[in-house]
Amino acid sequence: MVEASPPAVGERPREGAGRRRARVVLHVDMDAFFASVEVLDDPRLLGRPVVVGGTGPRGVVAACTYEARVFGVRSAMPMAEARRRCPEAVVLPGRYTRYAEVSGALHLRLGQVTPLVEGIGLDEAFLDVSGACRDTGDGRSLAEALRARIADDLGLACSVGVGRSKLVAKLASVAAKPTVQGAMVLPGPGVVAVEPEEEAGFLRPLPVRALWGVGPATGRRLERLGVRTVADLADLPQGTLERAVGPTAGRLLAGLARGEDQRPVVADRRAKSVGQEETFARDLVDPTVLHRRLVRLVDAATRSLRRAGYAARTVTVKVRFGDFTQVTRSRTLAEPADTPHVLGTVAAELLDEVATRRGVRLLGVSLSGFAGADRARQLRLSLGTGAAERVTVGTPPNAPEAWSAVAAAVDDIRTRFGDAAVVPATLAGSDGGGARRRGEAQWGPSGDGGAGRAEGRGA
């Protein structure tokens, strides 16, 4: 690992022909992204412990500033625990649309470095800059320039790792992060570039769990063999390793320990599914109430679907009970659809297949099996509501086209007047909860009101 090496030609082939030109991968990771955006938008929060996440009794921490980390707050920690560790923390519910907007601005800048950008969530991305390096210099100087540009344009800090694989780039960006020592936040180097010949020295001291693919279970098995660091793993005879974790995982891990990771940077990874789920402040039992919540989730999920220009073929309903057991039911349609009418009917039927008397803690809907990215719709001749429709049994006037028109009109209205301007009739009552916004309460319900009203905002 070099932090002050001259901006030289590290990634260029030094040994002449025969050696394959090394890949150069950047991993860009925003520092405390959601929390930093909150501080950016409200400078009064500067220097204070800020925690973003679900604010209700079952909420979890989605992001926190380094000032909060000093108190031991970490992301994915239950919010109650975070409040206990840091009572003076400013706890905010999170504004997904704002984060998505900043993320869009970030990705615009990443895309100007290389088209090979693979976004991971809103605040992380891998960039394959092998081509850009050939033209404009080495990975380190590209990373420095990019980091400065993001700080100037967005007012946000990020850490950038540079390596010849995703694995190394990702670990390098972790090494580039600020750190907390005692009550102090120490600024990180911001950019860490690991040259190919430095890889072994960089990887070996890291804990083995830093490797991609080593979860708690594998970690425990390795620990029984006395493997704690990447060095321990790399020095383990391959046969021993394969007996411990299985031949496939064994070969993979041995490779990773040597820094071998061929996973490509896949540009513009398309979403495979869109979904919405909701954790209730209290377990729900009443099927009528559950179905009403389902309508709301389907309404939101289909909106994301249409916004992305997709139609979906598969509907999956997920039900998690109070005891954390979970069932999913899914069904695939003959024709892709994007309206709440079609997909919601299927979702409701799927929910009916689940016995919910035990009490439902979480309800989710996901839509997958996408058709045509540029959602193409075959138009119909207007044969009129005349005889052709009248003899038809059952379908019109509930024809799918009619509901597509409704969905399009609803989208227009919401674009102009906001999401709450139009809601499905089922949700328009006092406990419907109105329209669900994207990203709303995705870290658990906020407040501790009743399940129906938890997110405020009636229709």
Partner: protein, 361 residues
Amino acid sequence: MALGGIHVSVVGNALTATGTDRDLTIAADTEVVGINDGAVVAPARLLVDVVRSLEPGAVTIESDDDLVEVTASRSHFNLRTFPLDEFPPLDEPSRPSTSLPAHALLDAIRQVVRAASTDDARPLLTGVLITSEGEGIRLVATDSYRLAFCDLPTSNPVLGAAHLLVPARALAELQRVPGISQLVERDEPVTPEGDVDGSPAREGTSGIGVSFGDHDLTFTAGPVRITTRLLDGTYPEYNQLIPPTYPNRLHVGKDSLLDALRRVRLLVRDNTTPVRLSMRQGGVDLTVVSQEIGDASETVDADFDGSDLTVAFNPAYLIDGVEAVPGDEVVVLTTDASKPATVRAAEEARFQYLLMPVRVS
């Protein structure tokens, strides 16, 4: 049960075989050496397979109440029969009240029937409308995505006054009648009146005989009679859908357009992938972009009058239409990317294929 059977009867030296599913009945006559008159219902598929497998030469068919015996050369089959009285009653073959030129009728059916719906949820649209248009007769079909019509170059006082909605399935069967191409070759100019003298259109007679009542219609093509139930209902008013004028006109060679469409269609993997036609002075660019597969594009030389535009279509529907156009030159008439387009021949407008675009957002 008895619908799986084929009814075979012999009267004198005429054998008639009849199959039916109640909606559609097909009967065929052939000449035999009749020994005794009689009738039997035999398992259709089996009887056909047996007879087809026999060595060339004479076949003898005999039956009693329970068995039908098929003998040829040294082969001998006994097949169990179905009860005769379980077969739907057969009407006396109705005598054609008129006839249509076989070649023109079969051409029109071929061109139009492709646009009929196959969706039983829209029963009316599974039919082909036979109606009058001006002095002539018009065939119309639509599945609501496209609409095809073809005018027969003949007038007919009997059919011209009718408004018949014939299941497309019956017309498809008519096209498949064995030997119908020979019938077409024998086709002769038909007098405007057709065979109104009422003589049965038996083998050797030119044209396809037609007779109809309130609920059914029979085509007679040589020795074969196809009787179909008529669909009941009011066909959609389609005339108002056809734009009187189009601002844009693409004139292109039929084969070069078809070949190009078939090539770019290789990239189509589901029925939602459209082909885009970008029309401009001197040519048309065809593009298919298929998510996760790739893309294809091709340029075809063409004459274009109008303002440049891009319209997307379901490639299968567009190919259907272009294929059906008579002659070597095709005209594609468009208004904009969301209004119906018309595909037809350059020289004549007897056949027209109205097609709704695919809207891409």
